[in-house]
């Protein structure tokens, strides 16, 4: 189980690089919104949720899964489950 915030952030950042293989370090942003990622469609959203659930051993509700629109929102959701 990952408890430290920095560790969580690193994991989430890596999830983004896994789900968007062409994403560069410069193109990643914590506040960058879904609409600004060219490949962030519904399938990418599903992959992102699946990765986060397996990495942190948690399970998101459908509502949570839908509302995540940025890396920060994913982090907040993970934090909520791990608190």
């Amino acid at each position: 189980m990952l408890y430290k915030l920095e560790e969580r952030k690193n994991v989430i950042k890596n999830i983004f690089f896994e789900v968007f293989p062409n994403l560069t370090e410069n193109e990643f942003g914590w506040e960058k919104q879904q609409k600004n990622y060219p490949n962030w469609d519904s399938f990418a959203q599903l992959n992102m949720i699946t990765f986060a659930e397996s990495k942190f051993n948690i399970e998101f509700s459908l509502d949570e899964s839908i509302k995540i629109k940025s890396a920060t929102e994913l982090l907040e959701c993970v934090n909520f489950h791990l608190k």
């Binding site: 896994e18 789900v19 293989p21 519904s42 399938f43 990418a44 599903l46 992959n47 949720i49 699946t50 990765f51 397996s54 990495k55 459908l62 839908i66």
Partner: protein
């Protein structure tokens, strides 16, 4: 039900063996051996039993592999009745359903193992042991008229609802002749059979041995690899019939030189459950003088294709070409998968209808049966299977064949087995779940599997759920029981 006499059927072929080779040992099981003459005598005694002199059309037989099974099977046929074959490990509920559907009122079982089934009305159903039937033999009745149907099997394979499949003597004759023609079975063969006779694959092997007059070695347990290998050596076997999983397990036996066991083998025949490519390649090396072959078929359309791997390089995943006088069509091809579609089969090996099942009969139209399997032909007309139509997973409109996911994940080191299937999802309709059986010492975690999938599959094919399991439910032929997963 129509009844008529046949010029040639399985009983006639047994008679031929008696005339040509009466003292030849035709059958060996784990307890005894028997000549063709002795077997024929027992079959006649069995069929003349007063206990079978009823008006019943169907008689149920529940038994493991044994010479007694063969006597009972042929005896029932020779008495002009239909054999309803029941697996000994059947659940009580399924047994009750089958007996009711088959309208059988007699069950025959081995000596000293009379079944006691609470759910069966003993006032309506009689249960007899083999020796009881034989002991009540009466005068020879040469006027037995053969039923058009030889046997009835309920398919329990990969679907939830068993369906009765009536197999006629004509179908047996057509299929057996094709097997002999394509795989060159010989009178001099010694055939080792660890497959159950109550299924189409094993029963087809019995018919083949009787047709050519070879010697059949019956084993009870296909998981007893030591017994299989010892039998190959002891009897100098020339053919072996097994499911692909048995071949893969044999390859994993350590500290054993397999070449010695298989030195006399000229043919290994297996069935259409996908064979791992590596198993095919390794067995091609082991069988220096022999052939590894497979076939594709259903109980409803037995042995519809054949594939001899030694004659074809780089087609280890194909089930071969249609059998002689069997036609196969790929219908309703999906635009997303070039040439992939439903497999339909036509030929004298195809049933005309199911047993008292009008719903299932809808799959049989104008001599063609919809197998429910998906596949495609390559440029040289070799057939490749890609799973079941019912198993296709629809993720937000994208159609996914589970086999593709399974084959990708199997490439990850540390995975013993995997099955992919659809689960309901509120937004996508379905998403993919995979159940994974890890190797014992594997430290694989879900993230590693997802990472591998991301690199090797399109994003709509990435599983949304991964579960590590202790077992993947499969039937005796190694086919996954998918209905148990959903």
């Amino acid at each position: 039900m129509c009844e008529f006499s046949f010029k040639m059927n399985i009983i006639n072929h047994l008679k031929n063996n008696v005339e040509k080779n009466p003292t030849k040992i035709g059958f060996i099981d784990e307890n005894r051996k028997i000549t063709f003459y002795e077997l024929y005598e027992m079959v006649i005694k069995f069929s003349n039993s007063q206990l079978l002199s009823t008006n019943e059309q169907v008689i149920s037989l529940i038994s493991e592999n044994s010479i007694s099974f063969i006597i009972a099977y042929l005896g029932i046929i020779n008495s002009g009745k239909i054999v309803h074959l029941i697996p000994p490990n059947i659940s009580e509920k399924n047994l009750k359903n089958q007996i009711e559907s088959a309208e059988s009122e007699i069950i025959i079982c081995p000596d000293n193992s009379k079944i006691n089934i609470k759910s069966i009305d003993s006032n309506k159903i009689s249960i007899f042991e083999f020796s009881e039937i034989i002991s009540k033999t009466g005068k020879s009745n040469k006027n037995h008229k053969m039923n058009q149907i030889a046997y009835l099997i309920y398919t329990s394979g990969t679907t939830a609802e068993p369906k009765g499949v009536p197999i006629t003597h004509d179908m047996i004759d057509f299929t057996t002749k094709n097997i002999i023609k394509v795989l060159n079975y010989l009178n001099s063969d010694v055939d080792v059979l660890p497959l159950p006779l109550y299924h189409s694959f094993g029963l087809g092997c019995l018919h083949t041995s009787i047709y050519v007059g070879s010697t059949l070695i019956l084993l009870k347990n296909s998981n007893n690899l030591e017994n299989i290998l010892d039998s190959l050596e002891k009897f100098k076997a020339t053919t072996l019939a097994v499911v692909p999983a048995t071949l893969t397990k044999i390859l994993n036996i350590k500290n054993t030189s397999l070449n010695n066991y298989f030195s006399n083998i000229r043919l290994i025949i297996t069935n259409s459950t996908s064979i791992p490519k590596n198993t095919v390649i390794e067995f091609k090396k082991i069988l220096e003088k022999g052939n590894l072959a497979t076939y594709y078929g259903l109980t409803e359309a037995s042995r519809s294709t054949f594939m001899i791997f030694h004659e074809n390089t780089h087609r280890e995943e194909s089930v071969g070409k249609p059998a002689p006088e069997v036609e196969i069509e790929i219908r309703n091809p999906d635009e997303n998968f070039s040439k992939l579609g439903e497999i339909w089969i036509s030929g004298k090996n195809v049933i005309k209808n199911y047993w008292n099942n009008q719903i299932a009969d809808q799959n049989v139209k104008e001599g063609w049966i919809n197998t429910g399997d998906l596949g495609y032909f390559d440029d040289e007309d070799y057939l490749f299977l890609k799973g079941r139509n019912d198993d296709i997973i629809n993720v937000g409109g994208e159609k996914i064949i589970p086999l593709e996911i399974e084959e990708t994940i199997k490439q990850i080191s540390g995975i013993k087995d995997v099955v992919a299937f659809g689960i309901n999802h509120e937004i996508f309709g379905q998403t993919i779940k995979v159940n994974i059986l890890k190797e014992k010492k594997s430290d694989l975690d879900k993230s590693k599997i997802l990472t591998y999938c991301m690199k090797n599959l399109e994003k709509f094919k990435i599983p949304s759920k991964i579960e590590f399991v202790d077992e993947i439910p499969k039937n005796e032929y190694g086919k996954v029981k998918r209905f148990m997963l959903k």
